[in-house]
Amino acid sequence: MTILGLESSCDETSVSIIRDGEILSNLISSQHFHLKYGGVVPELSSRAHLQMISPLFKKALEEANIEKEEIDLVSATAGPGLIGALLVGLNFGKALSYSLNKPFIAVNHIEGHIFSCFLMEEKPEYPILSLVVSGGHTLLLLVKDDLNIVKLGSTIDDAAGEAFDKVAKMIGLGYPGGPKVQEYSEKGNPKAIKFPVANLKGEYDFSFSGLKTSVLRYIQKEYPILEKITEDEKSNIAASFQDAVVKALSNNVKKAILNYEIKTLSVVGGVAANKAIRNKLIQLAKKFNKKIVIPDIEFCGDNAAMIAYRAGKLFENNIISDLNAVAFPALPKNAFIAN
């Protein structure tokens, strides 16, 4: 079965073709022009998606070395994400599926990330404990099978990736913050400054807003003149902040491993590219004798291969979408709630 995936939820336009689980092409066009604004500008993002989507589709066919008529299923991200951006991929996908006379599936972006671990050679086994960490989301989920996904906890304020971006900005490392904070952390001492790890009512919930504020207070107190922060001190702040994030994430993962019967541990999403987080989860898996499957870095960020893969799983379970499928900006309130 040959599946086309389209992804346009934020600042990457991506088109992928997978056949029987094998990736034939996975093209990603990143919108670097947002850098100068310090964040993604939705209108500019939507405009760029519209420019890229059709050429990228043709390129993906070329790279996969197939004709468009060989596509059996068309899929696109429907949300969550920037609404104007989502509308491009979703509507292109609906129209293309109609035009090719093939079924269409609207895919939940978060489910795409969750199932991105299946793109690896080593296949996860259900039940999976899945930590989703990205610029917009922080969720801890119990994935029982293809269709049953239960939310154990989520962030009550900022997403983990958001905290990385904000802290990077505070110490002048620029946007996007994740890679920069990691780079500086490697040179710093994670024990240099003690930043707090939130203790919340919801057993598996996360909070990064307090941590962010505490980093800000520290900088304001120690460095009234921001320019005076040395590179070494930046590294120490980055390392100590990152350490607090890793602790916050791993504390809840550990609790869940102890309280639920799981076979596989997985961390997915843009922030799953962070080495310290990956290493910590690998450690935990070893300690508790669980299988660990983490997507390669190229599948942590937004990509269409994961959308196509997820669509394939839904299709196997007889789930397809209508031409009236709509885009949704936020995760629905009832998403991942056990019935």
Partner: protein, 217 residues
Amino acid sequence: MEQFKPILSIETSDELCSAAIMLSEESFAEINFQKKFVHSEKLMPMISDLLKIANTKLEEVGVLAVSIGPGSFTGLRIGLTVAKGLAVGRNIQIIPVPTFDALAMQLSAVLPNNTNFIIANNANINEIYFAKYKSNNKKYELITETCLIDKSKYALLHQKDDLLFGNFTIEKNDFKTSSPNAISIAKWAYIFGKDFVNLDNDLLEPNYLKNFVVHKK
């Protein structure tokens, strides 16, 4: 004589979501849905139903005519994205149709001869999309090309007998018709579209009329 090939057309520049298929010079089918925020949900089902009703297959369609703006950025993108998706699957040419010209064509067919009329739609808090035309034997003549102007400048451009159309209304009895029906998009493409037949579909973008300016906080 060359056989007429059906023209499928899309109009999503404003609150009216409209799709039509022109089957010959005398015959067409059209589906309209006048409601905010339904375009992304309804446009594809509308096109699917339309082709069913018209007993026409997408591969029989000669060209796809799309209202290109100015208008709602999101609305225009939905229309053009759907067109691109349909076009790439069946190698169909897309004809970008200037929205205000198509509306002027539609209005001129019913206005008395030699009527000057303005189309003005709200663009944002301060600006409007503006164009001026004259009806001439059921056809339209361009007086002022579609442009973006400050609302405060409007009074200077409005002559005494000009009729005003569009959602930038100043008097209660002005006509609020702010976008054409899809069949007018198809007819415009039929009459004027020949110049566009070699356009690269991939390069088409809505007529945003100006660059988007990012205001820094």
